[in-house]
Symmetry: none
Subunit: 402 residues, 2 copies
């Protein structure tokens, strides 16, 4: 898709706003989905004059994680461009990742006589894990000239970033997990699966033994298990791919991380959805493309809290007029995947989307919902096609062929 789009790109002064209500899509309870239950007069009015449809993040039947879900929305094929677990974890913990880096997810674990007796170190409290992670950072700032960055996570989790002096080969992180997945077994060695992974494996081996040295007197967390070794995907930046100066407005580190992965500007930000919209307004003249992320819709879905998810959707709807007041040339409202409250998790269901611009048919959907969007002019389409539609609707694409 990017291959077709790139030679057609032309720049102009239009503004594109992509609002991602995380986990927006849902399933019915008492006959109505979360979005159908929510009172959303503003989105309903918008849907009536917008191009509507449903998008499939990865493929029919495939439930996307947050990474593939967002990459698709950003115009990257999530099947071609897969992001390692370590990278996602590091991004989620607020680390900045470069092409010189290998990221690793770590668990604190308990080891006795060479065998893992607890893979999660008794799920030690986050505060204790933070303290241990800070100690590791002080004691192991680097290994053989490789800069080591530790980031504390929740409970027994942390992430490690190994920053090498030079950019790495694409297969430099091809190292299986050292977590044996079962208690009573010895931890595995980090065995390189490619020539260029040998150097990374050596550093990983030293990391593990030095961490044990530092932690050996801890009662529970006396070892680290490493998982999800991964390097940066080799992809063009959002600006290279689409010619857009872009700003990510997100309060959760994971989503800023995903935006940074494609080179978006993604400053640290805290606050409410209202604060996010205020920030959009403040930055409106400085960028072409704005990704505004609303996390809480998904969080309530994940908790199985149908009414909570409904309330978060309504909360956004009430704030929507503030975005409309900026009159973006293209406004898209959608989710990165579905999170039906009845499933308490992500699901494979296509995600409703509306795209408002001067150049749509409209008039096909009476409100904004999963079922109404089946009537829309966009049909059911792969998520990765949304960015070209945004570019087209902002008149940023030239004709293909004469």
């Amino acid at each position: 898709m990017q291959r077709i789009v790139k030679p057609l790109i032309q720049k102009n002064d239009t503004k594109i706003v992509l609002v991602v209500l995380d986990g927006l899509g849902g399933l019915p309870v008492n006959g109505k989905t979360e979005l159908e239950t929510a009172a959303t007069p503003n989105m309903d009015a918008l849907a009536r004059e917008s191009a509507c449809g449903l998008h499939t993040p990865v493929a029919p039947g495939i439930t996307p994680g947050s990474g593939p879900g967002h990459l698709g929305l950003f115009g990257y094929d999530p099947l071609e461009c897969q992001i390692g677990r370590g990278i996602l974890e590091a991004l989620g913990l607020g680390l900045e990742v470069r092409k010189t880096d290998v990221a690793i997810r770590c668990n604190y674990a308990t080891i006795r006589d060479g065998l893992i007796v607890d893979r999660r170190a008794g799920r030690i409290p986050t505060e204790q894990s933070r303290r241990l992670t800070e100690r590791l950072q002080r004691e192991i700032p680097s290994i053989d000239g490789v800069e080591v960055t530790f980031a504390p996570g929740m409970e027994h989790r942390c992430a490690v970033l190994l920053r090498f002096p030079q950019p790495l080969e694409p297969d430099a992180a091809l190292i299986p997990d050292t977590d044996p997945q079962k208690e009573g077994k010895a931890p595995l060695a980090p065995v390189p699966q490619s020539k260029s992974a040998e150097k990374v494996a050596q550093v990983a081996e030293k990391l593990i033994s030095r961490a044990h040295e530092v932690l050996k007197n801890e009662e529970k967390a006396n070892f680290i298990l490493t998982r999800g070794f991964s390097g940066m995907p080799d992809i063009p930046t959002f600006e290279e791919a689409f010619g857009l100066r872009s700003l990510a407005i997100a309060t959760y580190p994971m989503y800023r991380g995903l935006a940074k992965l494609v080179g978006m500007n993604a400053p640290a930000l805290e606050g409410s959805v209202e604060d996010e919209i205020d920030y959009l307004k403040q930055q409106y003249s400085n960028y072409d493309f704005f990704f505004l992320h609303v996390k809480k819709v998904d969080s309530y879905g994940e908790d199985g809290n149908f009414n909570g998810k409904v309330a978060r959707i309504e909360e956004f709807d009430a704030l929507l007029p503030r975005i409309l007041a900026m009159n973006p040339d293209v406004l898209m409202i959608t989710g990165d995947h579905s999170t039906p409250a009845v499933m308490k998790g992500h699901s494979w269901h296509p995600v409703p989307v509306l795209l408002r611009s001067f150049y749509v048919l409209g008039g096909l959907c009476s409100s904004f919902s999963e079922r109404e969007c089946t009537r829309g002019e966009l049909g059911i389409f792969p998520t990765v096609n949304l960015m070209p539609l945004a570019l087209a609707n902002s008149l940023r694409l030239k004709k293909f062929g004469a």
Copy 2:
């Protein structure tokens, strides 16, 4: 698609039932299709609470044979996985085919002075052809260490299976038909089109001359013309691809053969649709996936018998409550292709499908028909995507990416 799905598969105790009403899709007569004309209260009620749509077996405008039609439903891309005519014929006649085999369709023909005077040997009666085929089997049990199996067909048709001692190369059956397609011409020689087809061609040449030797005193059927040389496609089994223990319930050998081709259990079975459903009930605890094939819907379509096709659809609808009583986690009802009675044959039209599970929107279609299914939440999609949807709806797929 299988490549994406395979690493995500997780097993559970759910049951998936796929009902194939062969040739289900139709075209209007007096304004209504066969499915619209049929009184189908049970399928209509089901459609109202199911995910509905239409699937395209091969590609838009392409009319599928039974082979590609079923392979798509079983989750195999019919363009990547093409099945030779000889294999299909052998399967249809109840032969079991292995990776060491080359299958050939044969016609009894009449030859005089080296020229074919009747390509179908006067369409000799099936009984006579069966007798001749048995004689060939007795006289030619093997050729140069290659086991030869003859299977009698209808009228002038039979099939031959050559079983080699070792598995064959993928291109070992690259041999054109020896049928010159016109009377008054000499039969063609089996000319190998690849290096690894040379051995097969030698055996085929001997087969043809020895068969003529055996048949030379027959008045009509004194020669065999060979067509559709083919070996087994190199594909994973259904269980390897999807992690499902599967049972095919079909009374026609061809459909059991197609199921066996992907490794389904497909015991010989006779009787009515009611008997098939009884067998489903009897075997319900022994498998994860059930393919239940209803042939007669297609047969009446092929005959151009609109009302007969309507009656067969109604007959199935009346039996549907027996399947519903088993309460499968995922129930799909569809066809392998369309067979409009007005066309007296297969057609390219997308095929209506309903998928009932706990995890669908539903509420979009008022009945089960070609036109109502255009309103459904599944849209118009490639047939090969149906299996991933079935797996998703039975919660047998993990999340893709974190």
